[in-house]
């Protein structure tokens, strides 16, 4: 395999000929924000966060889906790109009902991290506040469409890794929704093997383990007695 030499943010980088700008940048320790990219899955080029400037072309290129080329000069962190990334993350936050405070993924959520990484202090756009369903018909997992960012990582993980293709998308535009099988409740989706790869692939709290949400918290009043006993012994 031949190698290519290119410049990323002024740094000379060597990369395999079939590598993407994203791969080359990561190997060189240059971070480019991503959301729909997940190592091991095919590239979507959908979130547009990894757009970079390539000298000689006026169009911004998705780093995940653009091959390296000899002598290529890439800029990943210009003022224009920073502004665009911040705006894109704001658009995502405005689209559904992302309430970090009550989310199972808070603290280990890629969207939450992205907001901090791109310096999003607040959302300038109007929150669309759509009415979204929560499907907990599956015995082990649930999906909260309020938190879905339509990155399709679950769709691709299910299709390309598990080889099942339980997940897909129905509808279009901002009405797009993840569906299981032919739009049946997840628990009735016969193709689902309950492998949980979608859950691992989900960047946010959209797909979660049953029992981990606040609403599903099971109260155990008997534990109170144990706590009281423990306190009285200590104090």
């Amino acid at each position: 395999m031949s190698a290519k030499t290119l410049t990323i943010d002024g740094q000379m980088v060597s990369a395999g000929a079939d590598e993407s700008i994203l791969q080359a940048a990561r190997e060189a320790g240059i971070r480019i924000p991503t959301l729909c990219h997940l190592d091991g899955l095919s590239e979507m080029g959908a979130c547009r966060l990894c757009l970079v400037e390539v000298v000689g072309t006026s169009k911004l290129q998705p780093a995940c889906h653009t091959s390296v080329a000899e002598g290529m000069e890439v800029r990943t962190d210009t003022e224009r790109l920073r502004a665009h990334r911040r705006a894109i993350v704001e658009l995502i936050f405005a689209e559904r009902n992302h309430v970090c405070a009550v989310c199972v993924a808070s603290g280990h959520c890629e969207l939450q991290n992205l907001a901090a990484a791109v310096g999003m202090t607040h959302v300038r756009y109007e929150y669309l506040a759509p009415s979204c369903a929560v499907d907990i018909s599956h015995a082990r997992f649930g999906i909260d469409h309020n938190r879905c960012v339509l990155c399709t990582r679950c769709v691709r993980a299910c299709d390309e890794v598990e080889g099942v293709h339980t997940w897909d998308i129905a509808g279009r535009g901002t009405e797009s929704r993840l569906i299981t099988d032919l739009h049946v409740p997840w628990g009735e989706a016969a193709s689902c093997t309950s492998c949980g790869k979608c859950l691992l692939a989900c960047p946010t709290g959209a797909i979660f383990h049953r029992g981990s949400t606040v609403a599903e918290l099971e109260h155990e009043p008997t534990r109170i007695a144990a706590i009281v006993a423990a306190r009285s012994e200590r104090w």
Partner: protein, 178 residues
């Protein structure tokens, strides 16, 4: 002391958790009191929002007509407005009623449909503030100068912000949501 910072804190549509965080600054509050006067706050007894406030920390989203009026007054009478915590910055939990529909629908759901026992719709605008149809973050109603997210923002984060402002420096970059 005339050149003490005129500090205010405001509680709009929020759970007061951000004010709890404020109180969590513990003994530093005593240091703060040496350089700042608390001229308006839910934790002090002030009836009216005063004029010439230097710095105001606003907790909570704008959810009622009363919030809206207060927010506008706050903007008029304050030099630096800080949105304190996720409700003020994003709407957060307070705004979770938005997908349910307009104010009338929400009240109907809460007091009648799911009321147990079945209640009556509150209807005394002089006593109970009127709900806005949509809960919005503070910056959707007035110009906000600084944002401090967090649910709640931690006491050290609030302290870092105030300390920086006292020194005339740019506050550290905002921490994460949630």
């Amino acid at each position: 002391m005339a050149d003490k910072l005129r500090l205010a804190t405001v509680w709009l549509g929020g759970c007061s958790g951000c004010h709890m965080s404020l109180l969590d600054m513990d003994e530093w509050l005593i240091d703060l009191a040496a350089v700042a006067d608390l001229v308006y706050s839910p934790i002090a007894d002030h009836k009216h929002y005063p004029k010439n406030v230097d710095l105001v920390l606003v907790e909570g989203a704008v959810a009622t007509n009363e919030h809206l009026e207060l927010a506008r007054k706050v903007r008029q009478r304050s030099r630096l407005v800080v949105a304190l915590g996720d409700c003020a910055v994003t709407g957060n939990v307070t705004a979770m009623r938005n997908p349910l529909g307009a104010a009338a629908t929400v009240l109907q759901q809460v007091y009648i449909t799911h009321g147990d026992p079945r209640g009556v719709l509150p209807d005394d605008p002089d006593i109970v503030p009127r709900l806005l149809d949509t809960v919005v973050p503070l910056h959707a109603t007035i110009t906000v100068d600084l944002f401090l997210p967090g649910c709640p923002p931690s006491a050290p984060a609030i302290r870092a912000l105030i300390e920086a402002l006292l020194k005339g420096e740019t506050p550290p970059a905002a921490s994460r949501f949630g």
